[in-house]
Symmetry: C2
Subunit: 205 residues, 2 copies
């Protein structure tokens, strides 16, 4: 039954399934069971089957899932069967690392625009891309039809940056600034703050 309303928490696990399937593919697996997939992910087999059942019937009884086929299907479901052009805002140390990260393309993303507000950086080339002035964001993001942006600016500039992005029709934002940003309904946000992740673990130490 393909199209009920799928819980966010289920959608959040699909990229993990996809990532593991691609590793299995590299290792030469042709079929994989929910049991094996779950073992690798630390997730119960039942949960994996239930999650996938939201989108259709991908497995074969007695055999499991065709790795290549399920990978393809998940890419389609997640809308990463093509390559999304992505804008990167903020080209400090972290921005540099992200610009040079070569893991994006195979996952369905490519950084095609880089912005910074530092006059000393504007015009420089990073990872084969020119750093543009943030003042040109509205024009360029519109021209390129960008819908996804990565924010790697200081906390103090994050909300203003996001506001501009949202006005430019960006609908998905990966936020590296350690601050809560607010966006209108319909705009997706994911936050990455290493301190938050670390503090979540120290509770148990």
């Amino acid at each position: 039954m393909p199209v009920d309303k799928v819980p966010d928490i289920v959608v959040g696990r699909l990229p993990l399934y996809l990532r593991t399937l691609n590793y299995l593919l590299e290792e030469g697996y042709e079929m994989v069971s929910s049991h094996e997939l779950g073992r690798r992910l630390g997730i119960s087999p039942a949960q994996i089957r239930k999650d996938l059942s939201h989108f259709g019937e991908f497995g074969k009884q007695g055999a499991g899932y065709d790795v290549k086929y399920l990978s393809t299907q998940l890419k389609h479901i997640l809308h990463v069967d093509g390559v999304w052009p992505v804008a990167l805002v903020g080209c400090g140390a972290l921005g540099h690392a992200l610009a040079n990260y070569n893991g994006f393309v195979t996952k369905g993303f490519e950084i095609v625009l880089i912005f910074d507000n530092d006059p000393a950086k504007i015009g420089q080339v990073v990872a084969g891309k020119v750093i543009h002035d943030v003042a040109d964001m509205p024009r360029l993001i519109c021209e390129y039809g960008i819908r996804i942006a990565i924010v790697a600016v200081p906390s103090s500039a994050a909300q203003a940056t996001v506001d501009v992005l949202v006005r430019c029709q960006v609908r998905a934002i990966l936020n590296y600034a350690p601050i809560n940003i607010s966006v209108p309904p319909g705009v997706q946000v994911q936050n990455i703050d290493p301190s938050v992740h670390l503090q979540r673990m120290t509770y148990y130490l």
Copy 2:
């Protein structure tokens, strides 16, 4: 009632509360209501009150929470009222950015050891710290009494790196490698993979 078994999902929100409280402090707030805190975080006031009630009664009826006091209490609960020494393994572009990130100390962490396996990098100084040979990890991590590590090595090296860390008594690992690592019970892991975060959003585009 301070000491029931607190759900993981509640623990995971505490760092977000703490982060926002510290911003409120900078803005000069002395008191804050669960309503205002929730508004900033996109979380319901009831949930914040319920979460905090797992650990005690921190608020005052009619007034709200003393920002400074609640911040202090949350730091204590999360065990970040001191500064944890942290080891960073892998000093590529991402490792460099993390080593130079100045946001850790105020959150309760300090990178005191950096490792890499590249002979060309070993001995170099990054952010005031010498890069050590990964071969010296067991000795140095033991000497420094490290319990927390950040893994920023290639996927192919991640599991082996983690295995060594676990043997060295590291009990919390922030993993930037885009792969699922397995650890024994009692070892905390948090994963950061930008592609996974992005794919989680593209579903909705």
